[in-house]
């Protein structure tokens, strides 16, 4: 009813994680992460220990949404790349396959040109992983397979327990 929920399986997650790590290395970046357009963090790699990735994910999605609103007002479909330059760190944000957002944080050890180049390559790889994932979700839905769904047997009691 509420459109297609985003579902992530182990197999695709590993592929995505490997691609993000490759990008991190090749672009000489500090942090690379992937966010759903609704603000859910999908995967992150790099120096994330002292980084509030949950908040960053939500703000990134808000940023992309606001920029998308501006694009619409100008008659553009979207602005697919955003770049924020700081004194120390920079953020490169790009939309992949109109659904997910790739964020690269880098400092003076890298450059905007290098990041752009590497992001472009990774975007293709990530795009095809996501098409594969969406296809898989559709097939599983179609076959009615929900054997290991965490929701199938949820009871009121389970939910009450959440609130202690």
């Amino acid at each position: 009813m509420l459109g297609s929920d985003l579902v992530m399986y182990d197999e695709e997650f590993k592929l995505i994680d490997a691609e993000l790590q490759r990008l991190l290395q090749q672009a000489n970046a500090k942090v690379v992460f992937l966010v759903d357009k609704n603000g859910q963090l999908i995967a992150a790699t790099g120096e994330t220990e002292n980084l509030d990735t949950t908040s960053l994910a939500s703000l990134t999605a808000g940023n992309i949404a606001a920029t998308g609103g501006m694009a619409k007002l100008l008659g553009e479909k979207e602005f697919s790349i955003l770049f924020h330059e700081g004194a120390r760190d920079n953020i490169h944000i790009s939309i992949i396959g109109q659904r997910v957002i790739l964020v690269v944080i880098f400092d003076q050890r890298s450059s905007l040109g290098l990041v752009r180049l590497r992001v472009k390559k990774s975007a293709e790889a990530l795009g095809s992983i996501f098409s594969q994932l969406l296809q898989k979700v559709e097939t599983e839905k179609g076959s009615g397979k929900s054997a290991d769904s965490p929701f199938a047997e949820i009871t009121d009691e389970d939910i009450d327990k959440l609130f202690g």
Binding site: M1, D5, L6, F13, N38, G39, L59, G62, A65, F151
Partner: protein, 198 residues
């Protein structure tokens, strides 16, 4: 639009607090933030003006524990209530799993309540949602003030369908967690339905 991650065994859902300006949406989130165990909450982010009016959104990530081995996370958002921030309001509704409408119980705010409810219906429709089908809860806030509209009248004006609704005083926490619990329950039940429906 929830995010189910079988790899990290997590479920993420998005709940939006909607309502007219100064009705107490941010206060609801602040109370939840204040009263939640530090382990189960992230940072609360408020994108507000200098006068502390919400400019874009407030954001509070909440980890509620496990259901059947899956960590359950709720991302709570508020929208800016003031009428002229409509463009921002629309954006926040993207991918929403459940909506809490916070109504201001004061007599002079009834018109604003009704207008905001209509605005919610329109903005949801623009994102492809039907308010009658989305998990939805109504909270009548500020019940402690002297000039409040009688509950029956508020129900008649804002809740003709008889949805779950709660009285609240967000400043002292009355009804805040009841509201959160109720919407969380509806959202999870909706997920269950979605999965069963295939």
């Amino acid at each position: 639009m929830s995010f189910i991650n079988y790899s990290s065994r997590e479920i993420n859902c998005k709940i939006v607090f909607y309502g007219p300006g100064l009705c107490g949406k941010t206060t609801n989130l602040q109370w939840i933030y204040k009263k939640t165990n530090p382990d189960s909450k992230g940072k609360m982010i408020s994108l507000a003006t200098e006068t502390e009016r919400t400019l874009f959104f407030d954001f509070l990530p909440l980890a509620l524990g496990e259901i059947r081995g899956f960590k359950t996370r709720f991302h709570l958002y508020t929208v800016p209530g003031q009428v002229f921030y409509d463009a921002s309001r629309k954006l926040i509704l993207k991918g929403v799993d459940g909506v809490v409408f916070v109504a201001d119980s004061q007599v002079e705010r009834m018109e604003a309540n009704i207008e905001s409810m209509e605005n919610l219906r329109i903005n949801l429709a623009e994102q492809g949602y039907n308010l009658d089908k989305v998990p939805f809860i109504i909270q009548y806030n500020k019940r402690d003030l002297p000039n409040v509209v009688p509950l029956e009248e508020m129900k008649k004006a804002l809740n003709p369908r008889g949805l779950p609704d709660y009285e609240a005083i967000a400043t002292d926490g009355t009804g805040v967690f009841d509201t959160l619990k109720a919407i969380a329950k509806l959202v999870i039940m909706e997920l269950k339905k979605g999965q069963e429906g295939g």
